[in-house]
């Protein structure tokens, strides 16, 4: 496997996988009931005691540095499909890892977002 392919997989799997782990930690922490600063700090401290949160932060960091490395390479066009596809990967993770109900309507919205993000990134260059 060449370096670009490894980075591509890391950006998508580690970046979105990290966000999924953070989501799992917040799911286990439970909903924020109050918006007072003290209650919010308590919620964040409780979330930080969950192992998924630390795994998520670690994976997000790996994804971020992989993206930086990818951007420093010459072939930046790789980043476009990866960024767009991460929305599809996120919806799959939501369905199978977080047991969310990803209905056909939500899938339709996710696909539109994928397509739109792809166009924005192509149009930016």
């Amino acid at each position: 496997m060449n370096l670009e392919l490894i980075l591509l997989l890391l950006i998508m799997l580690a970046g979105t996988g990290g966000e999924l782990c953070v989501a799992r930690a917040m799911q286990a922490t439970g909903p924020a009931e109050e918006l007072r600063p003290r209650a919010l700090i308590r919620l964040i401290v409780r979330a930080l005691q969950n192992g998924w949160m630390w795994l998520g932060l670690l994976l997000m960091a790996v994804g971020f540095f992989s993206l930086l490395e990818m951007l420093s390479l010459e072939n930046v066009s790789f980043v476009i499909p990866v960024t767009a596809l991460s929305y599809g990967f996120g919806a799959l993770g939501g369905k199978f890892f977080l047991r969310e109900q990803v209905t056909r309507k939500r899938w339709a919205g996710v696909l539109l977002v994928c397509f739109g993000v792809g166009l924005v990134l192509i149009g930016h260059r």
Partner: protein, 139 residues
Amino acid sequence: MKKSFGDLSKTYLFLALMVILGPLGNVLLGKGMKRIGATASWNPNELVHFLAQLMGSGFIWLGVGCLLAFFAAYMLVLSWADYSYVQPASAVAYAVVALLGHFFLGEVVTPLRWMGVFIICLGVLVVGNTPPRTNEFQG
């Protein structure tokens, strides 16, 4: 404030904070880093000098502050809504960046990019029409 918001209003409010704070934090960090410039070597003296410049940059502090606030908002939104709802909904940030670039920085936004922004907004409207939370909380 704590009881007057419904769950949905809270979710929308903090999603709005996310799509503003995230891009803002990135722009501020980018501006700060451009002013400082890249490190030329791994020489300890130069690294210390580089770190001192980082710590002394208002843009860097503001950028880090925005990104920390972004992450706190992200955690809160995820405590109320599905990841498969939050992730596509936060793509509105691309529209915010295009609009800010066009109206405040005078950037040229290509028709293709506007089309992308329009399709993202359409997708977010469709996702926004689904119930934000669909699963039970797990311990």
